[in-house]
Symmetry: C2
Subunit: 349 residues, 2 copies
């Protein structure tokens, strides 16, 4: 398996193309990257788990940096601004989804931050494990001063992926929200749901994680492998935010939803196995829903919400030279809760 | 298999209990039944398909009749009123569902119109294949004068089961609604969605049903067994009302939903097989939802809506003496679209 991301981080004698960023178009923002979060998706692309990786690949879609230049028509950003770039760098901008600010659901397909194809020159897009990036202003968000930029990086993926569905499906004060999974996404889900006024329960498989769940701010913890605890929780939740990215039995969780409750999937666990018991939806008018990251206006809203509520991601800082070790640790679930690369270490290499 | 429902309809020398209706309680309404629709559920109970049938059983939960007496505290009904009774005759009235008028989701369990247990005296409830019924006023609805009472009977189950989710999930003018299945429920779904201003498509397995689907008022027809037609319909529907009561592959239908589209199940098809592809929910923020009949206030709203929009059920009239034959025909899907028993034929027997 070619690991171009590693090759790039270990030598400064690279072919110029992946590092050189394009000349500024009129709507472009040039960014010096200061921090980049490490998402599990980065591993899947680096190792071509899903097929379709175009090597050399430069992963990274949780990008924080400073504006170094802007194109002629850019009004919203100026040199020196602290900005972020998430999972997308372009979309058609004309379809019904784009018109609603839901670029992630662009009917013509959004352009991912890396391993995508630029809509103008058909070049491959390269992500945030890099010194610089050039992105159209529509896909750049402002990072509020109150946020620690390193701890803000993972908000651009892990943050918006959990914030967006909680907002869209209507989590409000007094709701009971369960968060399934305690990883990078799950721990952000807890923070957001708490800040929205909900009573939050973490579902975890292991008794050993109860203390950590409470430290994360959960009001309650349910051991999902304990049938008695799961039965006792029947029909008590308004929302479940399911961040588990692998196949698991949805039925015991759906049983925990009240009438009109909503189980939100943000991981790709297809197909659903064991089989979904549809009667549990019908008998209580429950909803099973999915959600993918979030749109650009909502990403800005989320960052502002984080500044207002003093929310950040729990991170472990990483030198780019240790990225391979970080990948190994992430595969074991050994990170609390997101690695963030200090991009100065790339410049020093 | 005991067929008590048949025995009852074939002899007038019955034990008095099932036919005798209780003395009026202060909130009771006594009703002389004029018409009763025949629901597939009636067959399941009569033949004990689901277990739990208490014989003798008197099926029927699509009841229309005239008030003959009312209890001391009944304010909303008087002798001579044209009224209806649907699938429920009581509930706890105190839980959060009951407080919202969602008695079908009563947290303490609603009392079904037949084969249920009366909350006061623990007697078994008996349904509408009968001369009379006595029901608490909260569970009685008013039948608008404009409605043909025979054609209104199936509105109390087939009608409300399709009206309620279309309303609850927000079908409005301009939406594209697909109705899956062309039976008693499906044909009502078409009428309601049309009256709500939607463009309606019927999904049917057979080319032979296209003309009938158009006659029902469908703007379009898609042959669901034709992969090309299904592919062409990808991402074009806001709502799908799935009335198919047996297992079927949901995935090709969910693929027909737009971003934020909703697939509504009203049949009990559990477990979902073939497996649900959860990614199709996540990638487009789609929703899979269930819905069960409807609450009492909404049932009244539905009847008023039918009067306003001149909506009724397509029925075949039936003498009670032919109920067994009707059951046989229903099992073959041979009815357009609901049998309704003329209860005068019971009095004549």
């Amino acid at each position: 398996m070619t690991k171009a991301y590693a090759a790039q981080s270990e030598t400064s004698e690279l072919a110029p193309h992946p590092i050189e960023r394009r000349e500024l178009r009129s709507d472009d923002v040039a960014i010096d990257i200061t921090y980049c979060g490490v998402c599990h998706t980065d591993i899947h692309y680096a190792e071509n788990d899903w097929g379709g990786t175009i090597y050399p690949v430069v992963p990274g879609h949780e990008i924080i940096g400073k504006v170094t230049a802007v194109g002629d028509n850019v009004k919203g950003f100026k040199v020196g601004d602290s900005v972020g770039v998430g999972c997308m760098v372009d979309s058609c901008r004309e379809c019904s989804s784009c018109e609603q600010g839901l670029e992630q659901y662009c009917l013509n397909g959004m352009v991912p931050t890396y391993n995508g194809e630029d809509l103008h020159d058909k070049s491959v897009t390269y992500g945030g494990y890099s010194e610089k990036i050039v992105v159209s202003d529509r896909f750049v968000v402002r990072v509020p001063e109150k946020l620690d930029p390193a701890k803000a990086a993972p908000l651009l993926c892990a943050g918006i992926t959990t914030y967006s569905p909680l907002r869209h499906f209507g989590v409000k004060e007094g709701h009971k929200v369960g968060v399934i999974g305690m990883g990078g996404l799950g721990h952000m889900g807890v923070k957001f749901a708490k800040a929205m006024g909900a009573e939050v329960t973490i579902f975890t498989r292991s008794e050993s994680k109860v203390a950590e769940a409470k430290r994360q701010g959960a009001d309650n913890v349910i051991i999902s492998t304990d049938d008695e605890q799961m039965e006792a929780a029947a029909e008590t939740f308004d929302f479940l935010l399911d961040t588990v990215p692998v196949q698991h039995d949805l039925n015991p969780y759906i049983n925990c939803l009240k009438v009109d409750g909503t189980h939100i999937l943000v991981g790709l666990l297809e197909p659903v196995d064991p089989a979904l018991q549809a009667g549990a939806l019908v008998m209580k008018r429950r909803v099973l829903a999915g959600s993918l990251i979030g749109g650009i206006p909502e990403t800005q809203e989320m960052l502002d919400f984080c500044a207002e509520h003093n929310i950040h991601c729990d991170v472990e800082m990483l030198d780019i030279q240790n990225i391979n070790e970080a990948f190994v640790r992430m595969k074991k679930g050994d990170v609390k809760y997101r690695f963030v690369i200090d991009m100065d270490t790339l410049k020093q290499s």
